[in-house]
Symmetry: C2
Subunit: 188 residues, 2 copies
């Protein structure tokens, strides 16, 4: 297949979707993000890239805490809303039910089946973004999304952002077992 | 729904899958990764967290270049293989057809429909991982995965890693339009 040079402005892959929570003044604020990843296993660190213009960044910098909330397909419209408007102008605390955990300044979204609260470890300054690296202090999961006491992504029923076509997509067909299906290629 | 505290060792979300390419000595080496994200739009930066023990890290540090290759469902077994064995012991250059772009030291996987070659901008040292931040210099896409000259994730047919159940999953049902379906919640 012929390789064609395309605009180098983005990498295209299935981007996870989440809602970041931060407290600004006395209020919870929420922002939808797709640029995040686990970055360290132990201690468990998460990194989230957020454009410096976002209102939510202020809360993270002030309290040095934030949450990451993994939504289900059912609430995709509300999640999308949190990426459409700024907390500077709209009170996004009212769109979800908020709960707090151990950190007290990392508001979490009750409607999202999986939530982690993080303490900020480091901020990497990039040209347009703050890359916030946080340590996961506590993780929460809806009781009905557990299998054998462990979070179950099928039950969480999360979705991804497909770019550049700007579509949300549910997870589809099981195509195999990780750290397993490639064993046939190992030459003894 | 009742929230249950679960082990805080990870955040669970649909993790994207990719193959990182680096040159070590005269050879291409490939490693499967799931902990990566775009982190800056312009200039376009990608960040990839890779455990310091990986052989591939050496190539990235030496040449200060790497590639990220987005695979399709069709080659999931080969992608899984690249996460099972180390380039210290196995010659992973032979599992894929390699091509080089402008950077000359960032081997790319021809069988992956979408590829970017990156120049290392910064390495953030985390407890167990190197967080490599690279600028995308050139992006390539298979001609048959373009729609109107732009990469099309449906045609690329990529997959995600579901954790903690360790399953690869294809992308599923379209559930709506991003930056759009939430507009009904905007109060005028």
């Amino acid at each position: 297949m012929k390789k064609i040079k395309v605009h180098e402005g983005r990498a295209y892959y299935p981007m996870p979707c989440a809602v970041v929570g931060a407290k600004i003044g006395e209020k919870a604020n929420y922002l939808t993000v797709a640029w995040f990843s686990m970055v360290n296993p132990d201690p468990p660190y998460l990194a989230i890239a957020m454009n410096k213009a976002h209102y939510t960044n202020l809360g993270i910098k002030t309290n040095r805490t934030f949450s990451l909330n993994i939504p289900s397909v059912d609430i995709a419209e509300k999640v999308d809303y949190c990426g459409l408007v700024s907390g500077k102008k709209f009170d996004k605390a009212t769109i979800f039910e908020t709960f707090y955990g151990e950190l007290e300044t990392a508001p979490m979204v009750k409607e999202c089946p999986f939530n982690v609260e993080c303490r900020l470890v480091q901020t990497v300054e990039l040209p347009a973004e703050d890359l916030f690296i946080g340590e996961i202090i506590t993780a929460y999961c809806d009781e009905n999304c557990l299998t054998g006491g462990t979070p179950d992504l099928k039950k969480i029923n999360s979705f991804i952002l497909s770019m550049p076509d700007k579509r949300y997509r549910a997870l589809g067909q099981d195509i195999g077992s990780a750290w397993d299906m490639g064993k046939k290629h190992i030459k003894k």
